[in-house]
């Protein structure tokens, strides 16, 4: 399938106290239509900054370099300006829906704002806004049109923010921690909505979250980032169930899995030793090497390249401890 949104060798610098800091170092991403790309990582991994660079909303202290292509057309640096793309071809929703909702304007007005400005028929715009509210499953759209954001619960507000993101009929939807602030029982509903929109509208969805459980439910493809670099990417289920990179393996292992059925503790929560690396103090060589149980001397020297590992999977590890002969045989047999 063709890539809808393609990012090559993305680098982002931020103004630091003494010198610019490279917060994102050579990230490649591909978003396909009708599928969900997940970007996972802890804070400081550069996942949110990467997403923000794709619609040009980085702050003034940031500079990016790299190639961003939407359906093959270059956008941003040297191509079509972000302002022409943002909100139309690529939309974004945030952890806090109030980022995209004005607190003192009625929902209906906000949803029809752009239609009025471009001289569209206001009744048509009104009808379309109602349709969008129905599409994101807001109960009683007629009432919602006249209501203000504070009259809705967090989950409903996020749904409205999604409706707002759909106004321009985007091809790509970027969701930055869309459910992190929500309760679990509400989160499930919002996730289901995003998944449904992805399929029904053939949207390319990019979801950014630290929650690998959410990734398991949502993502078709998964990219794992650590300290500004991609450490592993591939089909989500495979990456999560048989990780290829030590960091992914350790991260999955650190998650709580709940109790075991026989009453014993599953004790899945194996903590990763040490503190997470940040772009500000990224270790030389592989950024994960100081915390990696498989690290060898060379890991402290060479930055591992992201290498193809078969079956759509890539990882950046010199040691590659989860390499299995069976995989090679399977690949050879094919």
């Amino acid at each position: 399938m063709d890539n809808l949104l393609e990012v090559k060798d993305l680098k982002i610098w931020v103004a630091g106290a003494a010198r610019p800091i490279l917060v994102v170092d050579g990230v490649d991403l591909q978003v396909r239509a009708g599928s969900v790309l997940g970007i996972a990582g802890e804070s400081g991994s550069g996942k949110s900054i990467s997403a923000q660079s794709l619609i040009g909303i980085l702050g003034e202290k940031f500079v990016y370099e790299g190639e961003i292509r939407l359906e093959g057309r270059l956008i941003g640096d040297g191509g079509e300006p972000f302002a022409a793309i943002r909100g139309r071809e690529i939309s974004m929703i945030f952890q806090d829906p109030l980022n995209s909702l004005h607190p003192q304007i009625q929902i209906g007005k906000q949803l029809t704002e752009h239609a009025g400005r471009s001289g569209q028929d206001s009744r048509k715009a009104d009808k379309r806004a109602r349709e969008l509210l129905r599409e994101v499953r807001i109960p009683d759209p007629d009432w919602a049109m006249k209501a203000y954001p504070h009259q809705f619960s967090g989950g409903m507000r996020q749904r409205i923010a999604i409706a707002m993101a759909l106004v321009g009929d985007p091809k790509v939807l970027i969701a930055d921690e869309p459910t992190t602030a929500l309760d679990v029982t509400v989160q499930a509903g919002v996730l289901r909505l995003i998944k449904r929109l992805c399929v029904e509208r053939d949207l390319g969805v990019m979801i950014i979250t630290h929650d690998l459980g959410v990734m398991n439910a949502m993502a078709d493809d998964l990219t794992v980032m650590y300290a500004g670099r991609v450490v592993e990417s591939g089909p989500a289920t495979q990456v999560l169930q048989s990780p290829r990179h030590p960091y992914t393996e350790q991260l999955v292992g650190s998650l709580p899995a709940g109790p075991a059925r026989d009453g014993g503790r599953a004790r899945n929560m194996r903590a990763i030793a040490g503190e997470p690396a940040t772009p500000r103090n990224r270790p030389a060589g592989c950024a994960f090497h100081p915390r990696c149980p498989w690290a060898e001397d060379r890991c402290a020297v060479t930055v591992p390249p992201v290498e193809y590992r078969g079956e759509g999977r890539r990882s950046a590890c010199l040691v590659d401890p989860f390499f299995s002969v069976d995989d090679v045989r399977k690949a050879a047999a094919r």
């Binding site: 619960s153 949502m218 503190e275």
Partner: protein
């Protein structure tokens, strides 16, 4: 288990908030709990269910409207605006959600831990420095940590320092209010590990409050599930996890996205009702998939449904000696409607 031997006993606790111009809100509407030494009791629920208010009332930050909290057999008195906390309660300690705001940014870690020794223990001043180092080492902080300032630490390290400060008071019971929720995944696991280790090593009781069911299920010996100010189910983690008896507990379990789970997480219909104006009857009846007429009228009490199980549930579906499996019930309903 005998409740007299419990380090912390909460009896029918109620906490009310009075907001200007609005009705009284009963954030906690009758909660009973016990925490023994060497035991981790989890309190889980969604935002607004009152779990943090329980934590505050337990340590005395919040004044109960009714009921009582007993710590080592003595009633916990709420902390007044002026005046000091009674000496015998100073070792009932709490770890807060935000490590960044629970340490004074302008004081060294060492001096803040030493404060606990000064106020809550009888240790002579001369031995404070040694004890501070010992405590910081116990929570896994580097050797020179006592001289560091909070901003030099990561979130996980700050939380370790907060735990060290709480431990300095020599607690029998520790209350952790969402103590790992604001941390990154790997730091969460570290701090959870640390807490579990300390509970066993120092034989202290831990009341662990969190919205994260997976973490609660992983580290706790018993779990209480709260909804709208009340405990709806209490039991062993594996029972609540695999055979929840309360429909809300079941919904909560089924909504958690987890690795290795094939089914898509399920959402719960509707919204949490306004705590100022809770529904009559069972508080969950507005969202319950199994709701019956009785549920709208009469409020179910928390009852033991099975002998020697230790679990209790507040639901009209469940009767002593006849536990209904909710999954089976759900399947039956589906079949019947199809």
């Amino acid at each position: 288990m005998n409740s007299d031997s419990m380090a912390l006993v909460v009896n029918d606790l109620e906490v009310e908030y009075r907001t200007k111009g609005r009705a009284r809100v009963r954030a906690v509407a009758g909660v009973s709990l016990q925490v023994g030494r060497g035991e981790i009791v989890g309190l889980v629920g969604e935002s607004g269910c009152g779990k943090s208010t329980v934590a505050k009332a337990v340590v005395g930050i919040e004044r109960p409207a009714a009921g009582e909290v007993l710590y080592r057999g003595a009633r916990v008195t709420p902390i007044s605006r002026i005046g000091k906390r009674p000496k015998n309660q100073r070792n009932l300690q709490m770890v807060f959600q935000e490590p960044a705001s629970s340490l004074n940014p302008r004081r060294s870690i060492g001096s803040q831990v030493a404060d606990a020794l000064k106020f809550a223990t009888d240790l002579p001043q001369a031995k404070h420095e040694e004890r501070v180092r010992e405590l910081l080492d116990m929570v896994g902080l580097p050797k020179n940590a006592h001289r560091a300032y909070p901003h030099q630490f990561s979130g996980g390290q700050k939380q370790r320092a907060c735990i060290a400060r709480a431990l300095a008071a020599d607690p029998e019971v520790l209350v952790a209010d969402e103590a790992i929720s604001s941390l990154d995944a790997s730091a969460q696991a570290q701090i959870a590990d640390l807490l579990v280790g300390l509970v066993k090593k120092l034989d202290i009781g831990l009341l662990f409050i969190s919205h994260d069911l997976a973490v609660i299920g992983e580290i706790c010996d018993r779990i209480a599930v709260m909804y709208l100010g009340k405990i709806v189910e209490l039991g062993r983690p594996e029972q609540i996890w695999f055979e929840p008896r309360h429909p809300y507990a079941r919904a909560l379990m089924r909504s958690v996205p987890r690795i290795g789970r094939d089914s898509f997480p399920e959402s719960l219909e509707g919204e949490v009702p306004d705590p100022a104006n809770p529904p009559s009857g069972c508080r969950f009846n507005t969202r319950c998939p199994f709701v019956m007429d009785k549920c709208r009228v009469q409020e179910p009490a928390l009852i033991d449904v099975e002998q020697e199980d230790g679990g209790t549930v507040a639901c009209w579906l469940q009767e002593p000696g006849a536990v209904v499996d909710l999954d089976t019930l759900a399947t039956e309903r589906e079949v019947a409607s199809a």
